[in-house]
């Protein structure tokens, strides 16, 4: 076992290439035991690939790391036994019934008291009555709950959930997050990749990845506070016109519309103030200077990453 037992995942400078494309580029990330870690990043940024490396499904081309104290380069088999991985796509068999699926997973992990465990899982899911139904016939929300139940069957210490709530309705998402926090309270470490900001706010800590590199990490509060990013929030009338006139001004990095409010952000506070000054005394609008939303921040980070690595990646 590794010395740093309080880290469930500890990867350093891991890199993965497909052909000439570097999909994950020197990523270092640590997950503390018992925390819920949110993994964010635009499409194709390398989240799934990183998760696959953490759970022993892919071997990094370079770098080193440990998952639950096991070496990710050489002890993939041991990692797989103790990690629950929920794939981005529904990974269970649609032509097998709910019970058959769970039973298959249980026997593949060579678990004792299989029947009992499957019964228990079905009961927790509230699916005893439909256990004979084919998994393919379930709705998105139920599929996701079933997939979670399947990867919890062998009582893993670490859960890696790859976009578990994509395409799931708000109620089901809320229930799902309740479950996640319950598990975390029991001491299970959970990594969740997501594109939803409300979910990001529910995590203990976040990591933001773009072009295969970790751009920022920390608690949601820390991220906002340390961003060096400032946002004017404007509500009132004629917001559309205002947005159009502000968009390309020097000192303004981003203009985002949220219904009846407009967020105008920039890194340099002085420049931002100078640029917005001529518009601020409109009596029909209400201006407040505040902290940026997580979403503003991430979109800003994405743009920054594009400037730094985007061209490189295109080469």
């Amino acid at each position: 076992m590794n010395d740093e037992v309080d880290l469930a995942v500890d990867v350093r400078h891991i890199t993965k290439r497909y052909g000439h494309k570097t999909v994950v580029d020197g990523l270092s990330m640590q997950l503390r035991r018992g925390e819920v870690f949110g993994f964010l990043g635009p499409n194709g940024s390398g989240k799934t690939t990183s998760i696959r490396m953490m759970c022993g499904l892919l071997t990094p081309d370079s770098g080193e790391g440990h998952t639950l104290g096991y070496d990710i380069m050489h002890e993939a088999a041991k990692i797989k036994r103790e990690v629950g991985y929920m794939t981005q796509r529904f990974g269970l068999y649609e032509d097998l019934s709910i019970r058959e699926n769970l039973d298959f997973i249980a026997s593949v992990y060579e678990m004792d008291r299989r029947r009992e465990r499957v019964d228990h899982a079905l009961e927790r899911l509230g699916l005893q009555g439909r256990q004979k139904q084919l998994a393919g016939g379930l709705s998105g929300g139920w599929k996701q709950r079933m997939a979670l139940a399947a990867c919890m069957l062998h009582e893993p210490k670490l859960l890696l959930l790859d976009e578990p709530t994509a395409g799931v309705d708000p109620k089901a998402r809320r229930d799902f997050w309740e479950e996640i926090h319950k598990l975390a309270a029991e001491g299970i470490t959970v990594l969740v990749s997501t594109h939803y900001m409300d979910e990001a706010e529910r995590c203990h800590r976040l990591g933001y990845i773009a072009y295969g590199r970790l751009m920022a990490s920390g608690t949601p509060k820390e991220l906002v506070a340390n961003s060096g990013f400032h946002t004017w929030s404007i509500s009132g009338e004629d917001i559309s016109d205002l947005a159009d006139s502000l968009t390309d001004l020097h000192g303004i990095d981003m203009v985002t519309r949220f219904g009846n409010t407009l967020h105008v952000s920039g890194e340099d506070l002085a420049a931002l103030d100078a640029a917005t000054a001529p518009y601020r005394d409109n009596p029909q609008q209400h201006w407040t200077l505040g902290t940026p939303q997580l979403e503003d921040l991430f979109i800003h980070l994405m743009g920054k990453a594009q400037d730094n690595y985007g061209l490189e990646a295109k080469k």
Partner: protein
């Protein structure tokens, strides 16, 4: 950490069986196609192969025996490989399928011809594939009258005046009535197994990748080898069932005899099925989706049907086609199954065809395993 677990293998096998059972159409196809093909192919295709390997067992060395051999060579149908071979050796070569004909010239042949007594030339033909031997035999019969006429001149001319200087006795070995179903049925087992086995594994594995279940499967402790064997085993059983189906249909519908050992045939079938399944697995590791897997399966299936000696007599094919044919498992399987069913061959006679089959399987299995591992990364 266990390298190979029987319990996990069993779990995969069980899952696979449930899926096969649920997939009604595929299941019906695996059972229905063999029967359909058996009925359709019940009538064989004829053609005219030449240069068939022949040995001559000559109990006398004379002008006559030499002219017979020469005339046979000239006819184009026979490729005389030896004229100084014992009867027992010739028998063995015929059984192993190394030669198609063995011609036996008896000891007193010349004397009988000269005396005008009925002389006999004995032809032993391997008639398991009647379309291959038919034309050669009729060419031989036409030869008889003209053959010795220029040897029988002057004082010997009287011998040629008799309508036939000698008589040809043909033993159509292994398939005395020259029925083409006899030949087709053993071959059909090979063709059916090739098609169903390759397609089911190639599609089965690519389906897992395409539907995204493979990633989930590989995140569990299951080993690639367990997945591979677990996928193969159920189809071996399905393959055996369709073989039994074809054999019974052959027995009751076409009255094809079965002389050899059923157990030997079953053992060979299992090896043959395994050889095809590893081809399927290799295809699935190359194919990106089920459509590609299907196309590649057909790419392998066509030569297996056309160049294996199933459609056309093997010895009637051009040389290059024969070389390709020799690689294909179906070619060897068909020779073995014909030998076992119709000639009653045992393991020793079958060995010369069995080892190429085993070699093929081992080579492709290595490729398949290496490629299969790579797809995980």
């Amino acid at each position: 950490m266990t390298i190979f677990s029987f319990a996990r293998l069993l779990a995969v096998v069980k899952k696979e069986f449930i899926q096969i059972r649920r997939d009604r159409i595929t299941f019906a196809m695996m059972i229905g196609i063999p029967l359909l093909q058996l009925t359709l192919f019940g009538y064989a295709i004829n053609s005219d192969p030449k240069h068939l390997p022949t040995v001559v067992v000559s109990h006398e060395q004379s002008t006559f025996s030499r002219s017979i051999v020469q005339a046979m060579q000239h006819s184009g149908y026979f490729d005389i490989q030896s004229t100084s071979i014992g009867e027992r050796d010739a028998e063995g070569m015929l059984a192993r399928g190394e030669v198609q004909f063995s011609i036996i010239i008896p000891a007193d042949f010349t004397r009988h011809v000269l005396r005008g007594e009925k002389a006999q030339l004995l032809i032993e033909a391997d008639a398991t594939d009647p379309s291959a031997t038919g034309n050669a035999i009729s060419a031989l019969q036409q030869m008889t009258t003209s053959l010795l006429s220029h040897d029988l001149k002057g004082p010997l001319a009287y011998a040629a005046t008799t309508s036939m200087p000698y008589e040809i006795i043909i033993h159509r070995r292994y398939n005395p009535d020259a029925l083409s179903q006899y030949n087709v049925v053993p071959g059909l087992i090979g063709v059916i197994l090739t098609m169903t086995m390759i397609m089911s594994t190639a599609l089965g594995l690519t389906r897992e990748v395409e539907r995204g279940t493979m990633e989930n499967l590989l995140a569990t402790p299951v080993r690639p080898l367990e997945v591979m064997i677990g996928k193969i085993l159920p189809y071996i059983i399905v393959g055996l069932v369709s073989m039994i189906l074809v054999l019974s249909a052959a027995r009751w519908l076409f009255a094809v005899p079965f002389i050899g050992s059923l157990w030997l045939l079953v053992a060979v079938v299992i090896i043959f099925i395994a050889a095809n399944l590893v081809v399927g697995i290799t295809i699935s590791s190359v194919a990106r989706n089920q459509m590609q897997a299907l196309q590649m399966s057909f790419f392998f299936f066509l030569p297996s049907i056309l160049l294996s000696g199933f459609m056309f007599p093997f010895r009637g094919m051009p040389r290059w086609a024969q070389y390709i044919g020799e690689i294909l498992p179906n070619t060897h399987f068909m020779r073995i199954s014909r030998g076992v069913m119709l000639k009653g061959n045992g393991l020793t006679e079958s060995w010369s065809e069995l080892w190429p089959l085993l070699l093929f399987m081992l080579v492709v299995m290595c490729i398949g395993l290496v490629r299969f591992r790579r797809t995980l990364d």
